[in-house]
Amino acid sequence: MGKIIKNDKYIKVSEAALLSLVSSKLKERVLFPKKVETAKDFLNNLHFKPSKEV
């Protein structure tokens, strides 16, 4: 993780540290549940498979 600098008003973090913080915050959350549902819906309603199995 990158460098974190603090003063009275702000906390300055490196890009890598910031992205790591966001990543931790979103841990275990499904971020786009609607997309997962539409993908499931699409895959579970498949009526035709191409010659090579998908």
Partner: protein, 184 residues
């Protein structure tokens, strides 16, 4: 997919149960925006798992993720290239799995909103913005198809009026509801 130049730094995060693989980066256009590329496990299909590729913005003020924002941040190509650059990374980790890509603007809900709010772009029963996001990915695939098929196999997904889904070997320039890609 050689996109080493003109891409943003990616921070990688993988769930220990392989439920998702995520990449985070900062879009540095007119303003700094935190972007997320999300490969979320959908379900297994035969001997393979399918992951949904989604892309959106993270808003740290209200801790939300949205996939339908038009950022207009002035850096569309670096952002697009960065998203594409994550695909080979995905296949390095999951070489036998598949990716499904769907637009966030190809739903009935989107169409109804367009009908109500955007008369200019909704003409003759069609919304010109409908499925625009997937079209951007498709344009890239269509343009580079002959090179890409050396490494990847593409399938195009579509639906009929009864909501039945179909998947076929990808046909260039055809409209699709979704695109499925796997590594050869």
């Amino acid at each position: 997919m050689n996109l080493n130049s003109n891409t943003y730094y990616l921070s990688e995060n993988i769930n220990e149960n392989n439920e998702y693989l995520r990449y985070f980066f900062i879009s540095e256009g007119n303003q700094a925006i935190i972007k997320i590329i999300d490969y979320q496990f959908v379900q297994d299909y035969g001997d393979h798992n399918i992951y949904n590729l989604a892309f959106g913005n993270y808003n740290p003020e209200n801790d939300t993720v949205v996939d339908d924002a038009n950022s207009n941040n002035g850096d569309v190509y670096p952002v697009f290239n960065t998203v594409l650059s994550s695909i080979p990374k995905f296949f390095e980790i999951f070489p036998n799995e598949k990716i499904i890509v769907q637009g966030s603007d190809n739903t009935e809900e989107f169409l109804n909103k367009c009908k109500q709010n955007c008369i200019k772009k909704y003409k003759d029963g069609k919304c010109r913005k409908f499925n625009q996001r997937l079209r951007i990915y498709k344009n890239y695939v269509d343009k580079n198809y002959d090179d890409l098929i050396n490494e990847y196999t593409f399938y195009g997904g579509y639906k009929d009026e009864l909501n039945n889904s179909y998947l076929e070997k990808y046909i260039k320039h055809k409209e699709y509801f979704s695109v499925v890609v796997e590594k050869k």
